[in-house]
Point group: C2
Chain length 344, copies 2
């Protein structure tokens, strides 16, 4: 699609891998001098400009951020990304930036959209959501010198000290830790957990928050942890089924959940016998008086814009090593008393 | 902001009102010949091009639709416009069109954003939501020859046969009529209504649907209608208060509502003693088993794109008189049995 030379073209002409070209651009010291010379010669020959887009953001040529929007769902927790989109658009407008939406069927289609938008010079930078370990999207953006920030960690081995890219995320560990600690402080002794199957960067992080709060309170074995928790796909029905299992076998006296969808199902299934805490503080939770952990999406949006428009310009290579390369914001526990809604 | 001549410039140079310039462009037959000549001379002198943007959509120069997005709310019914945005973006992408978001503090600020986006040639057409009677935004877009379609009627005297612009809307009258008729068919005799204060184009339309279904079923006086209905601001709390009043004084045996927020409050306040039907089929309604009227937002998005990219190109002046200038799509009643959610 592109008439501009890409990192692939440079690699082909130089007879090296894309990774080597990327190394020459970002960490030239680790590349052998003769290889480096060959790559630099290919870059000059082709007129490859990896940093053009980053410069464009700083000069605000198109003043536009690109973000993927997914097909509408009727899910409860899906509203979080909508709320993030509102916050991002609102705060971007204050800086003279607009938001361009696009759709993609999968990560590779999303990469094709990146290339299309880059080639048309329609956006200055990308904002990515729903990151995962080994995400090919961020790899492509890095290799192609595109400015971007993710809402979500790289979920690599050491996100904090060695991030592969600039990111903002909400500390799910902290949120579940707070929720669990609050229930323990209220006198509950066996606080259970309903979350998602592993591996899940977000899900495993939230589960660790629950586990660590329990362990800080007293000894608890892995067998006990397993008996007091369930891993199910997200959904009201699934949350209900998990709660019935926990009540039957797990001897729990309170439950924290990885999402409001799970928590709503758990609340209904428990018949109100034990406290339930959800995650995301969705309109459903607010309307029903369900306790929940709120993600500060205004802070997330502010962090994304800060990283995009700051000295980094959304590119890690531009950042001095001592600069903050990420923002991990703390969620807020909202405790409520549920409404009584009898059947008709 | 604009270096391009506007309809205001033409009016000033010709010494006439903006409306007269608009008439010369759209209905020249009703303008006196000497006035028409003066306006046409001013148009030629200034190089005013009212139809440029419409042509741009047909040639798809920027391939972008502009739509306003509001600050995030925690409201339940607010998710409808988010779901419309998802559907619009998804369907626009299939036609090679993208969606650009912008924000505005009020209708006049939104008009300033229109002008800014037009001057930068960043969008080909606008999609407007939340229309109201005498909306200055549509008047500005018509006068400035901008392509646009609204999700929402003009709410004028005769929207159907003499629309001031191209629009798509959901037939709220039909939705409330269906809901009320379904409850009457189940044997309920005094079906009450909780809606919004008049005047409200959307709200008054939904109330008429309830009223007409009751009247088709048997005689009902205006006093009885007043006793069986309440008009309150949207919200769960307000819906609950209205339901308590109706139960105390209105002798209702079922209630239909203008929104799921009102319906949720009514459901809680009724203690499940009588059936409640909401409007919008939000995730809250689905999760709690609340009956509701679903707006077919995929159909709305398809209608908007059809009118924008069809022969009209979003401009009424291009449409032959016999062509459909609007789409009024029918919502769907979804009947459910509520969950029992006891307090903790």
């Amino acid at each position: 699609m592109s008439a501009l030379p890409t990192i692939h073209d440079v690699a082909r002409v130089a007879g090296v891998s894309r990774q080597t070209v990327s190394n020459v651009l970002n960490t030239p010291a680790i590349v052998r001098p003769d290889t480096r010379a060959r790559v630099q010669s290919a870059i000059a020959e082709l007129g490859y400009r990896p940093h053009e887009s980053a410069r464009r953001l700083r000069t605000r040529k198109s003043s536009t951020l690109g973000i993927r929007i997914d097909p509408m769902t009727d899910g409860i927790s899906g509203s979080v990304l909508d709320r993030f989109l509102h916050a991002l658009t609102e705060q971007a407008a204050r800086q003279g930036l607009r938001v361009m939406l696009f759709t993609a069927t999968d990560p590779h289609d999303e990469i094709a959209q990146f290339a299309r938008l880059r080639d048309a010079a329609d956006v200055d930078a990308f904002v990515l959501t729903s990151t995962f370990h080994g995400d090919p999207r961020t790899q492509w953006l890095i290799e192609n010198g595109q400015s971007f920030v993710t809402f979500g960690r790289p979920w690599g081995i050491d996100d904090m000290n060695d991030p592969q890219h600039l990111w903002v995320d909400v500390d799910g560990w902290f949120g579940l830790h707070e929720a669990t600690a609050a229930l323990l402080a209220q006198g509950h002794r066996r606080v259970g957990y309903i979350g998602w199957p592993s591996p899940s960067g977000t899900g495993d992080d939230r589960r660790r928050g629950w586990r660590d709060a329990l362990r800080e309170h007293g000894p608890v074995s892995d067998d006990e942890l397993a008996a007091m928790s369930r891993a199910v796909e997200d959904g009201v029905t699934q949350g209900g089924a998990a709660m019935r299992e926990l009540l039957a076998t797990g001897d729990v006296d309170a439950v924290v959940c990885a999402s409001d969808s799970l928590a709503l199902g758990a609340l209904i299934a428990s018949g109100g016998r034990i406290p339930v805490v959800g995650y995301d503080n969705t309109p459903v939770a607010a309307a029903l008086g369900l306790s929940s952990v709120e993600q500060p999406l205004d802070e997330v949006a502010a962090g994304v814009l800060d990283l995009l428009t700051g000295v980094h310009g959304g590119r890690l290579g531009d950042a001095p090593a001592h600069d903050p390369r990420h923002r991990l914001v703390r969620p807020r526990l909202i405790l409520r008393t549920p409404e009584r809604i009898p059947a008709q």
